[in-house]
Amino acid sequence: MTIFNIYIFDREGQCLYYDEWFRTKQSGLPPIQEYQLVFGMMLSMKSFSERLSTNDSNQTVNSFRTSAYKMNFLESATGVKILLNSDPAATGMPDLLQKIYQAWVETVNSPVANLLGEGIDHGFLQSKIRDVVTKHPAYV
């Protein structure tokens, strides 16, 4: 069981953060295009899963799974989107995604980040997120 990589997008689809731990195959696309692909996939997933829904209950897409990986989603009401790629059998992903969201809020969203203008030092965010991920039981 392990965690492969992670993407974080803001509301407009700009990739705020990418990181990986166990990735042996690259997508062959330049990073920007890969990010747009992932973001577009999440939007499309949301929209057709809504259209195919058999009742109009309020629903959210939590993940999709293949034989090789599970792509876990978290979208906050403010539009922050976190996608975490993990082993299909990994458990406790919603809780991990919530902790990553908290780590993002404490760094990028903190009053300091806004005041400094050029955005918080990437390393600060990276250290926080890596700490949260590597401490999670699903991370081997």
């Binding site: 509301r11 689809g13 939007l43 309020n58 906050s76 539009g79 969201y101 908290q102 009053p111």
Partner: protein
């Protein structure tokens, strides 16, 4: 936690609340020296609140993962009164006088800590100073962050502060170019 550790925690929470309220009060009087016109100060407080609110939304959602996604004003009022206001102001609130087909309502914040020790001079009140407008601005900012455009104004009513909220529209997600959803 040992008894006095709990006591220290309670004291430090109480003191940091006092520190926040005193600092806010001192900020308001400083703004009054800067802008002289109380209405202008109220607008500055609203702007300040708005900027805080846009970031508080994520802070609140990160801390309260169990909060349901809101789709109408009744749910918004529920979350504000039961979760957000107790979490940030440490006091209770409830919603009242709903009009305009549930598009306009009042959030009554009981014993607003911000103005507990404050006596706003009548001439400033009459000239348009709304001491707690920062709260209304914060609510407007937080709701805008979750795509609800609202208007919010604060009014003092004894120890309570009433925030009059009027729903305007739902803000569409602006998608990156080339993404036709």
């Amino acid at each position: 936690m040992s008894k006095n550790a709990k006591q220290n925690l309670a004291d430090s929470k109480k003191m940091s609340a006092e520190l926040f309220c005193l600092t806010y009060g001192s900020l308001v009087t400083e703004l009054l020296r800067d802008y002289e016109d109380p209405k202008e100060v109220t607008m500055q407080l609203d702007k300040m609140g708005f900027n805080m609110g846009t970031r508080l939304a994520d802070d609140f959602l990160a801390k309260n993962s169990n909060v349901p996604r809101c789709t109408d004003c009744r749910q918004i009022a529920e979350v504000l009164c039961k979760n957000a206001i107790p979490c940030y102001l440490g006091t209770t609130a409830n919603s009242s006088n709903w009009v305009g087909g549930d598009r306009e309502f009042t959030i009554v914040i009981e014993n607003n800590p911000l103005n507990e020790l404050v006596q706003v001079p009548p001439n400033l009140l009459a000239a348009g100073l709304s001491y707690s407008q920062v709260i209304a601005g914060a609510i407007r900012g937080a709701l805008e962050a979750v795509h609800f455009k609202v208007y919010a104004t604060a009014m003092e009513n004894g120890a309570n502060t009433e925030i009059r909220i009027r729903f305007d529209s739902v803000l569409k997600d602006n998608l990156p170019a080339g993404e036709d959803d």
